[in-house]
């Protein structure tokens, strides 16, 4: 079928060219004839003109006959070509149609088989990928859990040690403050005692007692060889 298309086109072109040629020929002849007629009418108006007219008409008639014959021949040839092409197409279709169908069926079956194989392979690959992904995800989760546990343990240890240090420092501060306050209290006690004694002894101690104390100090200084 596909091979008859160019033959049809070829036939159509031939037919068209033939019609065109015939038309051009007829037109040429008509023009010639009319020119002659005009000439004849100008040169001899009566019998010559009629003869010429007669001749011309005969020529036209002949040309028309010939043209019709050419057209008829062209039509016949065209019809022959069309019939031949139809016949050859039919033969070709008969000859190759079955083979084409068989080949198409084979190709379809092979393609279907290929698709099945592809689908099976794809399913297998998908299963493998799923398994692999699961395995990888499990590994990642395990690693993550391990790292998290380690991190939490470290953080806990660091926090505990930091808190211990803080507690230690705070206790030390408290102890230092307590010691300072106690020593301040002791200083105050001694200062109060000295103040009390200075207020009391001023009224109680006599001049003689004080001089006696001076003697006592001088004796001690002598014993210690403080004064030389």
């Amino acid at each position: 079928m596909l091979n008859t298309m160019p033959e049809l086109i070829q036939f159509t072109i031939i037919l068209t060219v033939t019609f065109a040629a015939a038309t051009v020929l007829l037109a040429y002849l008509y023009i010639q004839e009319s020119q002659k007629r005009q000439k004849l009418e100008r040169l001899s108006p009566n019998t010559a003109l009629k003869d010429a007219q007669q001749k011309g008409q005969n020529l036209i008639h002949q040309a028309l006959k010939k043209a019709q014959a050419i057209i008829g021949k062209a039509e016949l040839e065209g019809i022959e070509v069309v019939a031949e092409s139809k016949l050859s197409t039919k033969k070709f279709e008969e000859k190759y149609g079955k083979e084409l169908e068989e080949e198409i069926t084979k190709a379809a079956q092979a393609f279907a088989k290929y698709l099945d194989d592809l689908r099976t392979q794809g399913e297998q690959t998908q299963l493998l990928n799923q398994e692999y992904s699961k395995q990888k995800i499990n590994e990642i989760f395990e690693k993550f859990e391990q790292n998290l546990a380690d991190f939490l343990t470290q953080t806990e240890q660091k926090s505990v040690s930091a808190i211990d240090l803080e507690l230690k420092a705070t206790r030390q501060l408290i102890d230092t403050y307590k010691t300072q306050q106690l020593s301040l209290i002791d200083e105050n006690i001694i200062a109060m005692l000295e103040k009390t004694l200075s207020l009391v002894l001023v009224n109680k101690i006599s001049l003689k007692d004080e001089v006696d104390l001076v003697y006592e100090a001088l004796e001690k200084a002598k014993a210690e060889k403080f004064i030389s």
């Binding site: 002791d186 006690i189 001694i190 005692l193 000295e194 004694l197 200075s198 002894l201 001023v202 101690i205 001049l207 007692d209 004080e210 001089v211 104390l213 001076v214 003697y215 006592e216 100090a217 001088l218 001690k220 200084a221 002598k222 210690e224 403080f226 004064i227 030389s228």
Partner: protein
């Protein structure tokens, strides 16, 4: 000669400030005797004693402060001074007295010089005839005394005793508080 005069001056003077004060009074008296009066007579000679005594009082101010001491020096003492040597002698005596390093005695209240005389005698007996003392008031020592000798201090006061027995005192007081 100056040494003997200094010894005479310091015989009954135990406090350095007092020694210098007496020296000044002596100087004033002698200068008056030497330069102000044409008939210079030693005090305590004949009928001029009372007149000289009055002069002394005029010179030294308070009638009793140094009069007795100046009189106690005796007439022979004053014979050592002339117009020519008086200034030199007094300068030497003053330097000699100032050169003596006194024992500084810190006391909580002022002790009259009379009360310190036995102390001075005691020290002279133990450390030499030119030993001098100086007293300073420090109420902070409460009672007792602190001695300073040649820049070194020895504290024998109640304050020092309290400081030395601080822990014992605190312990005792705190035990009372607990009970």
């Amino acid at each position: 000669m100056t040494d003997k005069l200094v010894d005479d001056i310091l015989a009954t003077t135990y406090i350095q400030i007092e020694a210098l004060s007496r020296l000044r009074a002596l100087k004033d008296l002698i200068l008056v005797q030497l330069f102000a009066s044409s008939a210079a007579a030693a005090p305590g000679v004949g009928g001029q004693v009372s007149r000289e005594k009055v002069k002394m009082q005029e010179v030294v101010g308070s009638p009793a402060q140094h009069t007795a001491w100046l009189t106690s020096l005796g007439p022979d003492f004053y014979k050592n001074f002339t117009r020519e040597n008086v200034y030199k002698i007094f300068e030497e005596m003053e330097n000699a007295i100032k050169k003596i390093q006194p024992l500084v005695i810190y006391v909580p209240f002022e002790i009259p010089n009379d009360e310190l005389t036995p102390v001075g005698e005691y020290l002279r007996k133990n450390y030499g005839k030119r030993f001098l003392i100086e007293t300073k008031i420090d109420p902070g020592i409460i009672a007792g005394t602190a001695l300073v000798w040649k820049g070194m201090m020895k504290d024998y006061s109640i304050r020092k005793k309290i400081a030395d027995n601080r822990e014992t005192i605190l312990r005792t007081l705190k035990s009372f508080v607990k009970h």
